[in-house]
Symmetry: C2
Subunit: 298 residues, 2 copies
Protein backbone atom coordinates (compact mmCIF):
# COMPACT_ATOMS: atom_id res chain seq x y z
CA UNK A 1 0.00 0.00 0.00
CA UNK A 2 1.58 3.33 -1.04
CA UNK A 3 1.75 6.10 1.59
CA UNK A 4 -1.15 8.60 1.37
CA UNK A 5 -1.84 11.97 2.97
CA UNK A 6 -3.79 11.94 6.25
CA UNK A 7 -7.21 13.61 6.60
CA UNK A 8 -8.49 15.56 9.63
CA UNK A 9 -10.58 12.60 10.78
CA UNK A 10 -7.43 10.42 10.66
CA UNK A 11 -5.75 12.90 13.00
CA UNK A 12 -8.65 12.71 15.47
CA UNK A 13 -8.55 8.92 15.46
CA UNK A 14 -4.77 8.93 15.89
CA UNK A 15 -4.89 11.09 19.03
CA UNK A 16 -7.88 9.22 20.53
CA UNK A 17 -5.93 7.43 23.33
CA UNK A 18 -4.39 10.69 24.63
CA UNK A 19 -7.23 11.51 27.04
CA UNK A 20 -7.10 8.10 28.69
CA UNK A 21 -3.29 8.19 29.05
CA UNK A 22 -3.42 11.68 30.57
CA UNK A 23 -6.13 10.73 33.07
CA UNK A 24 -4.12 7.64 34.01
CA UNK A 25 -0.95 9.71 34.54
CA UNK A 26 -2.74 12.40 36.56
CA UNK A 27 -4.28 9.74 38.83
CA UNK A 28 -0.87 8.08 39.30
CA UNK A 29 0.82 11.37 40.29
CA UNK A 30 -2.08 12.36 42.57
CA UNK A 31 -1.95 8.95 44.25
CA UNK A 32 1.72 9.35 45.18
CA UNK A 33 2.67 11.17 48.43
CA UNK A 34 4.85 14.08 47.30
CA UNK A 35 5.74 17.59 48.52
CA UNK A 36 3.06 19.92 47.13
CA UNK A 37 5.50 22.09 45.17
CA UNK A 38 7.16 19.03 43.62
CA UNK A 39 3.79 17.58 42.62
CA UNK A 40 2.79 20.91 41.05
CA UNK A 41 6.10 21.08 39.15
CA UNK A 42 5.71 17.53 37.84
CA UNK A 43 2.13 18.11 36.74
CA UNK A 44 3.10 21.39 35.05
CA UNK A 45 5.81 19.67 33.01
CA UNK A 46 3.89 16.45 32.42
CA UNK A 47 0.32 17.51 31.75
CA UNK A 48 0.75 20.83 29.93
CA UNK A 49 0.04 19.74 26.37
CA UNK A 50 2.46 18.10 23.99
CA UNK A 51 1.82 15.73 21.11
CA UNK A 52 1.94 12.57 23.29
CA UNK A 53 3.49 10.78 20.37
CA UNK A 54 5.29 8.19 22.51
CA UNK A 55 2.29 7.03 24.58
CA UNK A 56 0.13 7.01 21.44
CA UNK A 57 2.71 4.71 19.83
CA UNK A 58 2.69 2.46 22.90
CA UNK A 59 -1.10 2.14 22.83
CA UNK A 60 -1.31 1.67 19.06
CA UNK A 61 1.50 -0.92 18.99
CA UNK A 62 -0.24 -2.80 21.80
CA UNK A 63 -3.49 -2.83 19.80
CA UNK A 64 -1.65 -3.73 16.57
CA UNK A 65 -0.63 -7.09 18.08
CA UNK A 66 -4.10 -7.73 19.53
CA UNK A 67 -3.73 -6.19 23.02
CA UNK A 68 -6.14 -3.85 24.82
CA UNK A 69 -5.46 -0.22 25.76
CA UNK A 70 -5.57 -1.19 29.47
CA UNK A 71 -2.43 -3.32 28.95
CA UNK A 72 -0.63 -0.31 27.50
CA UNK A 73 -1.43 2.42 30.04
CA UNK A 74 1.41 1.81 32.53
CA UNK A 75 4.17 1.60 29.90
CA UNK A 76 2.58 4.51 27.97
CA UNK A 77 2.61 6.63 31.14
CA UNK A 78 6.16 5.57 31.97
CA UNK A 79 7.54 6.49 28.55
CA UNK A 80 5.85 9.90 28.69
CA UNK A 81 7.37 10.50 32.18
CA UNK A 82 10.83 9.71 30.78
CA UNK A 83 10.25 11.94 27.75
CA UNK A 84 9.06 14.87 29.90
CA UNK A 85 11.98 14.45 32.35
CA UNK A 86 14.38 14.65 29.40
CA UNK A 87 12.72 17.82 28.08
CA UNK A 88 12.91 19.53 31.49
CA UNK A 89 16.62 18.78 31.91
CA UNK A 90 17.37 19.54 28.24
CA UNK A 91 15.83 23.02 28.63
CA UNK A 92 18.04 23.94 31.65
CA UNK A 93 20.40 26.94 31.29
CA UNK A 94 23.48 24.68 31.42
CA UNK A 95 21.99 22.54 28.62
CA UNK A 96 19.94 24.01 25.71
CA UNK A 97 18.94 27.08 27.80
CA UNK A 98 15.40 27.32 26.46
CA UNK A 99 12.62 29.55 27.81
CA UNK A 100 9.74 28.12 25.83
CA UNK A 101 8.29 24.60 25.65
CA UNK A 102 4.89 23.56 24.31
CA UNK A 103 4.05 27.27 24.03
CA UNK A 104 4.58 27.95 27.77
CA UNK A 105 7.54 28.92 29.99
CA UNK A 106 9.89 25.99 30.58
CA UNK A 107 9.78 24.51 34.11
CA UNK A 108 12.91 26.32 35.35
CA UNK A 109 11.43 29.62 34.09
CA UNK A 110 8.06 28.87 35.69
CA UNK A 111 9.63 27.75 39.02
CA UNK A 112 13.43 27.74 39.42
CA UNK A 113 16.45 25.68 38.37
CA UNK A 114 16.59 23.56 41.53
CA UNK A 115 12.95 22.52 41.06
CA UNK A 116 13.55 21.74 37.39
CA UNK A 117 16.54 19.52 38.27
CA UNK A 118 14.64 17.72 41.05
CA UNK A 119 11.35 17.60 39.15
CA UNK A 120 13.12 15.95 36.22
CA UNK A 121 14.83 13.49 38.55
CA UNK A 122 11.47 12.67 40.15
CA UNK A 123 9.80 12.06 36.80
CA UNK A 124 12.49 9.51 35.90
CA UNK A 125 12.11 7.77 39.25
CA UNK A 126 8.32 7.78 38.98
CA UNK A 127 8.50 6.15 35.54
CA UNK A 128 10.22 3.12 37.05
CA UNK A 129 7.91 3.15 40.07
CA UNK A 130 4.93 3.14 37.69
CA UNK A 131 6.21 0.06 35.84
CA UNK A 132 6.96 -1.67 39.16
CA UNK A 133 3.54 -0.94 40.71
CA UNK A 134 1.27 -0.76 37.67
CA UNK A 135 1.80 -4.21 36.16
CA UNK A 136 0.73 -7.33 38.06
CA UNK A 137 2.67 -9.87 36.00
CA UNK A 138 6.18 -9.57 37.49
CA UNK A 139 7.90 -11.17 34.50
CA UNK A 140 6.24 -8.66 32.17
CA UNK A 141 7.05 -5.81 34.55
CA UNK A 142 10.71 -6.87 34.62
CA UNK A 143 10.89 -7.13 30.84
CA UNK A 144 9.38 -3.66 30.37
CA UNK A 145 11.70 -2.20 33.04
CA UNK A 146 14.70 -3.52 31.14
CA UNK A 147 13.39 -1.99 27.88
CA UNK A 148 12.75 1.36 29.56
CA UNK A 149 16.04 1.52 31.47
CA UNK A 150 18.14 0.68 28.41
CA UNK A 151 16.30 3.18 26.23
CA UNK A 152 16.55 5.89 28.88
CA UNK A 153 20.30 5.42 29.09
CA UNK A 154 20.62 5.43 25.31
CA UNK A 155 18.60 8.65 25.21
CA UNK A 156 20.88 10.26 27.82
CA UNK A 157 23.91 9.12 25.81
CA UNK A 158 22.27 10.87 22.84
CA UNK A 159 22.01 14.11 24.83
CA UNK A 160 25.72 13.82 25.57
CA UNK A 161 26.55 13.20 21.87
CA UNK A 162 24.39 16.22 21.00
CA UNK A 163 25.46 18.66 23.73
CA UNK A 164 29.03 17.62 24.51
CA UNK A 165 30.14 15.95 21.28
CA UNK A 166 32.98 13.46 21.54
CA UNK A 167 32.72 10.72 18.93
CA UNK A 168 34.83 7.69 18.08
CA UNK A 169 37.41 8.70 15.45
CA UNK A 170 36.74 8.40 11.73
CA UNK A 171 32.94 8.99 11.74
CA UNK A 172 31.56 11.10 8.88
CA UNK A 173 29.22 14.00 9.69
CA UNK A 174 26.26 11.92 8.51
CA UNK A 175 27.30 8.99 10.74
CA UNK A 176 27.59 11.39 13.69
CA UNK A 177 24.18 12.86 12.94
CA UNK A 178 22.59 9.40 12.73
CA UNK A 179 24.29 8.39 16.00
CA UNK A 180 22.80 11.44 17.71
CA UNK A 181 19.32 10.90 16.27
CA UNK A 182 19.27 7.13 16.93
CA UNK A 183 20.13 7.75 20.58
CA UNK A 184 18.54 11.10 21.38
CA UNK A 185 15.04 10.54 19.98
CA UNK A 186 15.21 7.10 18.33
CA UNK A 187 15.75 5.11 21.51
CA UNK A 188 12.60 6.30 23.30
CA UNK A 189 10.38 6.05 20.22
CA UNK A 190 11.64 2.49 19.64
CA UNK A 191 11.06 1.69 23.32
CA UNK A 192 7.55 3.18 23.21
CA UNK A 193 6.65 0.86 20.34
CA UNK A 194 8.37 -2.24 21.71
CA UNK A 195 6.83 -1.84 25.18
CA UNK A 196 3.39 -1.59 23.54
CA UNK A 197 3.94 -4.76 21.50
CA UNK A 198 5.36 -6.62 24.51
CA UNK A 199 2.59 -5.47 26.87
CA UNK A 200 0.03 -6.46 24.23
CA UNK A 201 1.35 -10.03 24.22
CA UNK A 202 2.88 -9.85 20.73
CA UNK A 203 4.77 -12.82 19.26
CA UNK A 204 8.51 -12.48 18.59
CA UNK A 205 7.73 -11.96 14.89
CA UNK A 206 5.22 -9.22 15.69
CA UNK A 207 7.63 -7.50 18.09
CA UNK A 208 10.28 -7.66 15.37
CA UNK A 209 7.93 -6.01 12.82
CA UNK A 210 7.03 -3.32 15.34
CA UNK A 211 10.72 -2.72 16.10
CA UNK A 212 11.57 -2.18 12.41
CA UNK A 213 8.56 0.14 12.07
CA UNK A 214 9.74 2.04 15.15
CA UNK A 215 13.28 2.46 13.86
CA UNK A 216 12.08 3.88 10.54
CA UNK A 217 9.47 6.13 12.12
CA UNK A 218 11.89 7.22 14.86
CA UNK A 219 14.49 8.45 12.39
CA UNK A 220 11.79 9.98 10.20
CA UNK A 221 10.43 11.91 13.18
CA UNK A 222 13.81 13.50 13.80
CA UNK A 223 14.51 14.24 10.13
CA UNK A 224 11.12 16.03 9.97
CA UNK A 225 12.11 17.89 13.16
CA UNK A 226 15.30 19.07 11.45
CA UNK A 227 13.21 20.27 8.50
CA UNK A 228 10.69 22.12 10.69
CA UNK A 229 13.49 23.88 12.58
CA UNK A 230 14.54 25.61 9.31
CA UNK A 231 11.10 26.04 7.70
CA UNK A 232 8.71 27.02 10.55
CA UNK A 233 8.27 29.94 12.98
CA UNK A 234 8.75 29.80 16.75
CA UNK A 235 5.06 30.67 17.25
CA UNK A 236 3.93 27.78 15.09
CA UNK A 237 6.29 25.24 16.72
CA UNK A 238 5.61 26.29 20.32
CA UNK A 239 9.38 26.12 20.84
CA UNK A 240 12.27 28.26 19.61
CA UNK A 241 12.79 27.83 15.83
CA UNK A 242 16.16 28.05 14.06
CA UNK A 243 18.09 26.96 17.16
CA UNK A 244 19.91 24.09 15.46
CA UNK A 245 21.59 26.43 13.02
CA UNK A 246 22.35 29.08 15.66
CA UNK A 247 23.94 26.41 17.88
CA UNK A 248 25.89 25.00 14.91
CA UNK A 249 24.28 21.56 15.29
CA UNK A 250 24.41 18.91 12.60
CA UNK A 251 21.08 18.55 10.78
CA UNK A 252 19.85 16.79 7.65
CA UNK A 253 19.04 20.03 5.74
CA UNK A 254 22.51 21.33 6.64
CA UNK A 255 24.26 18.18 5.40
CA UNK A 256 22.23 17.20 2.32
CA UNK A 257 19.89 20.15 1.59
CA UNK A 258 16.12 20.54 1.96
CA UNK A 259 15.06 18.58 -1.14
CA UNK A 260 17.16 15.50 -0.36
CA UNK A 261 15.93 15.69 3.25
CA UNK A 262 12.33 15.54 1.97
CA UNK A 263 13.24 12.48 -0.12
CA UNK A 264 14.76 10.85 2.95
CA UNK A 265 11.46 11.38 4.79
CA UNK A 266 9.54 9.69 1.97
CA UNK A 267 11.93 6.72 1.96
CA UNK A 268 11.63 6.22 5.72
CA UNK A 269 7.84 6.48 5.41
CA UNK A 270 7.90 3.64 2.86
CA UNK A 271 10.22 1.56 5.06
CA UNK A 272 7.84 1.97 8.00
CA UNK A 273 4.90 0.75 5.91
CA UNK A 274 6.91 -2.24 4.66
CA UNK A 275 7.83 -3.21 8.23
CA UNK A 276 4.11 -3.58 9.00
CA UNK A 277 3.37 -5.71 5.93
CA UNK A 278 2.71 -8.89 7.95
CA UNK A 279 0.35 -7.15 10.41
CA UNK A 280 -3.40 -6.95 9.68
CA UNK A 281 -5.93 -4.08 9.88
CA UNK A 282 -5.30 -3.70 13.61
CA UNK A 283 -2.04 -1.97 12.61
CA UNK A 284 -3.88 0.63 10.47
CA UNK A 285 -3.59 3.35 13.14
CA UNK A 286 0.21 2.85 13.02
CA UNK A 287 0.14 3.27 9.23
CA UNK A 288 -1.92 6.47 9.59
CA UNK A 289 0.31 7.74 12.37
CA UNK A 290 3.37 7.28 10.17
CA UNK A 291 1.75 9.24 7.33
CA UNK A 292 0.68 11.95 9.74
CA UNK A 293 4.21 12.24 11.17
CA UNK A 294 5.66 12.57 7.68
CA UNK A 295 3.62 15.69 6.92
CA UNK A 296 3.31 17.24 10.41
CA UNK A 297 4.01 20.97 10.63
CA UNK A 298 4.74 21.33 14.38
CA UNK B 1 23.92 -6.68 74.54
CA UNK B 2 24.97 -3.10 75.40
CA UNK B 3 26.58 -1.02 72.64
CA UNK B 4 30.39 -1.01 72.76
CA UNK B 5 33.06 1.06 71.00
CA UNK B 6 34.47 -0.39 67.77
CA UNK B 7 38.14 -1.36 67.40
CA UNK B 8 40.31 -0.86 64.33
CA UNK B 9 39.96 -4.50 63.33
CA UNK B 10 36.16 -4.10 63.52
CA UNK B 11 36.45 -1.26 61.03
CA UNK B 12 38.51 -3.38 58.63
CA UNK B 13 35.97 -6.18 58.82
CA UNK B 14 33.10 -3.75 58.32
CA UNK B 15 34.52 -2.33 55.09
CA UNK B 16 35.58 -5.74 53.73
CA UNK B 17 32.88 -5.99 50.99
CA UNK B 18 33.78 -2.58 49.49
CA UNK B 19 36.43 -3.91 47.10
CA UNK B 20 34.11 -6.51 45.62
CA UNK B 21 31.25 -4.00 45.18
CA UNK B 22 33.57 -1.49 43.48
CA UNK B 23 34.97 -4.11 41.09
CA UNK B 24 31.43 -5.21 40.27
CA UNK B 25 30.35 -1.61 39.59
CA UNK B 26 33.42 -0.83 37.45
CA UNK B 27 32.81 -3.96 35.36
CA UNK B 28 29.15 -3.05 34.91
CA UNK B 29 29.96 0.49 33.72
CA UNK B 30 32.77 -0.75 31.44
CA UNK B 31 30.43 -3.35 29.96
CA UNK B 32 27.88 -0.71 28.92
CA UNK B 33 28.26 1.10 25.56
CA UNK B 34 28.50 4.79 26.48
CA UNK B 35 30.07 7.97 25.07
CA UNK B 36 33.66 8.09 26.38
CA UNK B 37 33.22 11.43 28.18
CA UNK B 38 30.01 10.24 29.84
CA UNK B 39 31.66 7.01 30.97
CA UNK B 40 34.60 8.99 32.42
CA UNK B 41 32.24 11.35 34.25
CA UNK B 42 30.25 8.47 35.73
CA UNK B 43 33.39 6.65 36.88
CA UNK B 44 34.80 9.87 38.37
CA UNK B 45 31.67 10.41 40.45
CA UNK B 46 31.04 6.76 41.24
CA UNK B 47 34.45 5.30 41.94
CA UNK B 48 36.31 8.18 43.57
CA UNK B 49 36.23 7.08 47.17
CA UNK B 50 33.35 7.53 49.60
CA UNK B 51 32.36 5.46 52.61
CA UNK B 52 30.21 3.02 50.59
CA UNK B 53 27.92 2.80 53.59
CA UNK B 54 24.84 1.90 51.55
CA UNK B 55 26.34 -1.04 49.60
CA UNK B 56 28.03 -2.29 52.79
CA UNK B 57 24.61 -2.29 54.46
CA UNK B 58 23.11 -4.17 51.52
CA UNK B 59 25.80 -6.86 51.66
CA UNK B 60 25.71 -7.15 55.47
CA UNK B 61 21.90 -7.32 55.62
CA UNK B 62 21.96 -10.01 52.94
CA UNK B 63 24.45 -12.02 55.01
CA UNK B 64 22.52 -11.35 58.24
CA UNK B 65 19.55 -13.33 56.90
CA UNK B 66 21.75 -16.13 55.55
CA UNK B 67 22.40 -14.91 51.97
CA UNK B 68 25.72 -14.78 50.10
CA UNK B 69 27.52 -11.62 48.97
CA UNK B 70 26.92 -12.64 45.31
CA UNK B 71 23.16 -12.20 45.88
CA UNK B 72 23.76 -8.66 47.13
CA UNK B 73 26.09 -7.24 44.47
CA UNK B 74 23.48 -6.02 41.96
CA UNK B 75 21.29 -4.24 44.55
CA UNK B 76 24.43 -2.95 46.34
CA UNK B 77 25.71 -1.48 43.07
CA UNK B 78 22.30 -0.05 42.22
CA UNK B 79 21.90 1.73 45.56
CA UNK B 80 25.39 3.24 45.27
CA UNK B 81 24.56 4.47 41.75
CA UNK B 82 21.44 6.19 43.10
CA UNK B 83 23.38 7.67 46.02
CA UNK B 84 26.13 9.03 43.75
CA UNK B 85 23.60 10.45 41.27
CA UNK B 86 21.94 12.31 44.16
CA UNK B 87 25.29 13.74 45.33
CA UNK B 88 26.18 14.97 41.84
CA UNK B 89 22.85 16.77 41.39
CA UNK B 90 22.84 18.03 44.99
CA UNK B 91 26.24 19.67 44.45
CA UNK B 92 25.10 21.62 41.35
CA UNK B 93 25.25 25.45 41.49
CA UNK B 94 21.44 25.71 41.43
CA UNK B 95 21.25 23.29 44.38
CA UNK B 96 23.79 23.23 47.24
CA UNK B 97 26.50 24.80 45.01
CA UNK B 98 29.39 22.79 46.42
CA UNK B 99 32.92 22.62 44.99
CA UNK B 100 34.24 19.76 47.08
CA UNK B 101 33.06 16.15 47.47
CA UNK B 102 35.02 13.23 48.91
CA UNK B 103 38.06 15.53 49.05
CA UNK B 104 38.04 16.22 45.28
CA UNK B 105 36.35 18.74 42.96
CA UNK B 106 32.66 18.00 42.47
CA UNK B 107 31.72 16.62 39.04
CA UNK B 108 30.48 19.94 37.63
CA UNK B 109 33.78 21.57 38.73
CA UNK B 110 35.82 18.73 37.24
CA UNK B 111 33.84 18.73 33.96
CA UNK B 112 30.92 21.15 33.49
CA UNK B 113 27.32 21.59 34.58
CA UNK B 114 25.78 19.89 31.54
CA UNK B 115 27.89 16.79 32.12
CA UNK B 116 26.99 16.77 35.82
CA UNK B 117 23.27 16.96 34.99
CA UNK B 118 23.50 14.21 32.35
CA UNK B 119 25.98 12.10 34.32
CA UNK B 120 23.62 12.14 37.30
CA UNK B 121 20.68 11.24 35.07
CA UNK B 122 22.68 8.37 33.58
CA UNK B 123 23.63 7.00 36.99
CA UNK B 124 19.96 6.83 37.97
CA UNK B 125 19.05 5.09 34.73
CA UNK B 126 21.95 2.67 35.07
CA UNK B 127 20.83 1.72 38.58
CA UNK B 128 17.53 0.45 37.20
CA UNK B 129 19.24 -1.17 34.23
CA UNK B 130 21.55 -2.99 36.66
CA UNK B 131 18.63 -4.41 38.65
CA UNK B 132 16.87 -5.41 35.41
CA UNK B 133 19.90 -7.15 33.90
CA UNK B 134 21.84 -8.32 36.97
CA UNK B 135 19.23 -10.54 38.64
CA UNK B 136 17.99 -13.69 36.93
CA UNK B 137 14.92 -14.28 39.11
CA UNK B 138 12.40 -11.86 37.53
CA UNK B 139 10.12 -11.81 40.56
CA UNK B 140 13.05 -10.84 42.77
CA UNK B 141 14.22 -8.28 40.23
CA UNK B 142 10.74 -6.73 40.15
CA UNK B 143 10.50 -6.60 43.94
CA UNK B 144 13.90 -4.90 44.24
CA UNK B 145 13.03 -2.45 41.45
CA UNK B 146 9.93 -1.40 43.37
CA UNK B 147 11.97 -0.91 46.56
CA UNK B 148 14.60 1.15 44.73
CA UNK B 149 12.15 3.27 42.74
CA UNK B 150 10.07 4.15 45.80
CA UNK B 151 13.13 5.00 47.89
CA UNK B 152 14.65 7.08 45.08
CA UNK B 153 11.47 9.12 44.83
CA UNK B 154 11.30 9.54 48.61
CA UNK B 155 14.93 10.71 48.56
CA UNK B 156 14.18 13.26 45.83
CA UNK B 157 11.17 14.45 47.85
CA UNK B 158 13.61 14.88 50.75
CA UNK B 159 15.85 17.07 48.60
CA UNK B 160 12.82 19.20 47.81
CA UNK B 161 11.84 19.47 51.50
CA UNK B 162 15.45 20.42 52.26
CA UNK B 163 16.18 22.83 49.39
CA UNK B 164 12.77 24.28 48.60
CA UNK B 165 10.91 23.91 51.89
CA UNK B 166 7.12 23.82 51.68
CA UNK B 167 5.59 21.69 54.44
CA UNK B 168 2.03 20.80 55.40
CA UNK B 169 0.74 23.36 57.94
CA UNK B 170 1.15 22.87 61.67
CA UNK B 171 4.42 20.88 61.70
CA UNK B 172 6.90 21.77 64.48
CA UNK B 173 10.53 22.43 63.56
CA UNK B 174 11.48 18.97 64.91
CA UNK B 175 8.76 17.30 62.82
CA UNK B 176 10.01 19.18 59.75
CA UNK B 177 13.59 18.13 60.48
CA UNK B 178 12.58 14.48 60.90
CA UNK B 179 10.56 14.64 57.66
CA UNK B 180 13.66 15.92 55.82
CA UNK B 181 15.98 13.32 57.36
CA UNK B 182 13.56 10.42 56.90
CA UNK B 183 13.25 11.24 53.20
CA UNK B 184 16.62 12.72 52.26
CA UNK B 185 18.95 10.09 53.76
CA UNK B 186 16.64 7.67 55.59
CA UNK B 187 14.87 6.36 52.50
CA UNK B 188 18.02 5.14 50.71
CA UNK B 189 19.60 3.66 53.86
CA UNK B 190 16.35 1.80 54.58
CA UNK B 191 16.21 0.62 50.97
CA UNK B 192 19.86 -0.51 51.07
CA UNK B 193 19.09 -2.71 54.08
CA UNK B 194 15.74 -4.02 52.84
CA UNK B 195 17.12 -4.89 49.38
CA UNK B 196 19.93 -6.84 51.08
CA UNK B 197 17.50 -8.79 53.27
CA UNK B 198 15.16 -9.44 50.34
CA UNK B 199 17.98 -10.49 47.97
CA UNK B 200 19.34 -12.76 50.72
CA UNK B 201 16.04 -14.61 50.89
CA UNK B 202 15.03 -13.30 54.32
CA UNK B 203 11.71 -14.28 55.90
CA UNK B 204 9.06 -11.58 56.48
CA UNK B 205 10.09 -11.48 60.16
CA UNK B 206 13.76 -11.05 59.28
CA UNK B 207 12.98 -8.33 56.74
CA UNK B 208 10.89 -6.60 59.42
CA UNK B 209 13.81 -6.71 61.92
CA UNK B 210 16.20 -5.37 59.28
CA UNK B 211 13.74 -2.59 58.41
CA UNK B 212 13.51 -1.44 62.06
CA UNK B 213 17.32 -1.59 62.33
CA UNK B 214 17.60 0.46 59.12
CA UNK B 215 15.17 3.12 60.33
CA UNK B 216 17.09 3.61 63.61
CA UNK B 217 20.50 3.55 61.95
CA UNK B 218 19.32 5.80 59.12
CA UNK B 219 18.16 8.55 61.47
CA UNK B 220 21.27 8.07 63.63
CA UNK B 221 23.47 8.52 60.57
CA UNK B 222 21.91 11.87 59.80
CA UNK B 223 21.93 13.09 63.41
CA UNK B 224 25.67 12.28 63.54
CA UNK B 225 26.06 14.16 60.23
CA UNK B 226 24.41 17.21 61.81
CA UNK B 227 26.86 16.94 64.73
CA UNK B 228 29.92 16.60 62.48
CA UNK B 229 28.88 19.64 60.45
CA UNK B 230 29.25 21.82 63.59
CA UNK B 231 32.22 20.01 65.25
CA UNK B 232 34.61 19.06 62.38
CA UNK B 233 36.76 20.86 59.80
CA UNK B 234 36.24 20.86 56.03
CA UNK B 235 39.59 19.11 55.53
CA UNK B 236 38.63 16.30 57.87
CA UNK B 237 35.16 15.81 56.38
CA UNK B 238 36.28 15.96 52.73
CA UNK B 239 33.29 18.25 52.12
CA UNK B 240 32.48 21.81 53.18
CA UNK B 241 31.89 22.02 56.99
CA UNK B 242 29.51 24.45 58.69
CA UNK B 243 27.27 24.73 55.64
CA UNK B 244 24.03 23.80 57.43
CA UNK B 245 24.31 26.81 59.71
CA UNK B 246 25.39 29.18 56.91
CA UNK B 247 22.42 28.05 54.82
CA UNK B 248 20.08 28.38 57.81
CA UNK B 249 19.09 24.71 57.65
CA UNK B 250 17.32 22.90 60.48
CA UNK B 251 19.68 20.57 62.40
CA UNK B 252 19.53 18.61 65.65
CA UNK B 253 22.27 20.68 67.40
CA UNK B 254 20.43 23.86 66.35
CA UNK B 255 17.09 22.65 67.72
CA UNK B 256 18.06 20.75 70.89
CA UNK B 257 21.77 21.53 71.53
CA UNK B 258 24.90 19.37 71.19
CA UNK B 259 24.49 17.36 74.42
CA UNK B 260 20.89 16.33 73.76
CA UNK B 261 21.90 15.48 70.19
CA UNK B 262 24.58 13.11 71.53
CA UNK B 263 21.94 11.48 73.76
CA UNK B 264 19.67 11.05 70.74
CA UNK B 265 22.51 9.24 68.94
CA UNK B 266 22.93 6.86 71.90
CA UNK B 267 19.18 6.13 72.01
CA UNK B 268 19.03 5.37 68.29
CA UNK B 269 22.09 3.12 68.66
CA UNK B 270 20.26 1.13 71.36
CA UNK B 271 17.11 0.93 69.21
CA UNK B 272 19.14 -0.44 66.32
CA UNK B 273 20.62 -3.18 68.52
CA UNK B 274 17.18 -4.08 69.89
CA UNK B 275 15.79 -4.41 66.37
CA UNK B 276 18.38 -7.14 65.67
CA UNK B 277 17.62 -9.10 68.87
CA UNK B 278 16.01 -12.04 67.02
CA UNK B 279 18.89 -12.36 64.53
CA UNK B 280 21.89 -14.59 65.32
CA UNK B 281 25.66 -14.06 65.03
CA UNK B 282 25.37 -13.54 61.27
CA UNK B 283 24.03 -10.08 62.12
CA UNK B 284 27.16 -9.18 64.13
CA UNK B 285 28.65 -7.05 61.32
CA UNK B 286 25.43 -4.99 61.40
CA UNK B 287 25.84 -4.51 65.16
CA UNK B 288 29.46 -3.43 64.67
CA UNK B 289 28.52 -1.16 61.78
CA UNK B 290 25.93 0.58 63.95
CA UNK B 291 28.49 1.18 66.72
CA UNK B 292 31.01 2.43 64.17
CA UNK B 293 28.48 4.84 62.67
CA UNK B 294 27.66 6.21 66.12
CA UNK B 295 31.25 7.32 66.73
CA UNK B 296 32.41 8.12 63.18
CA UNK B 297 34.26 11.40 62.75
CA UNK B 298 33.86 11.95 58.98
Amino acid sequence: MPPRSPTQSDQQKITEPVGEVERFLAAFIDGRTLPVNLRDAIKYALLGGGKRLRPILTVRCCEAVGGQIENALAPAGAIELIHCFSLVHDDLPAMDDDDLRRGRPTLHKQTNEAMAILGGDAMMGLAFELLATGIEDVALSGRLTLELATATNDMIAGQVYDTLPQFPEGLSDMERLKTIHRHKTGALLRCACRMGAIAGGGTDDQIDSITRYAEAVGLMFQVVDDLLDVTQTTEHLGKTAGKDSIQGKLTYPELIGIDATRQEVAQLQTQAHEALSKLDHQANPLRELCDYMAVRSN
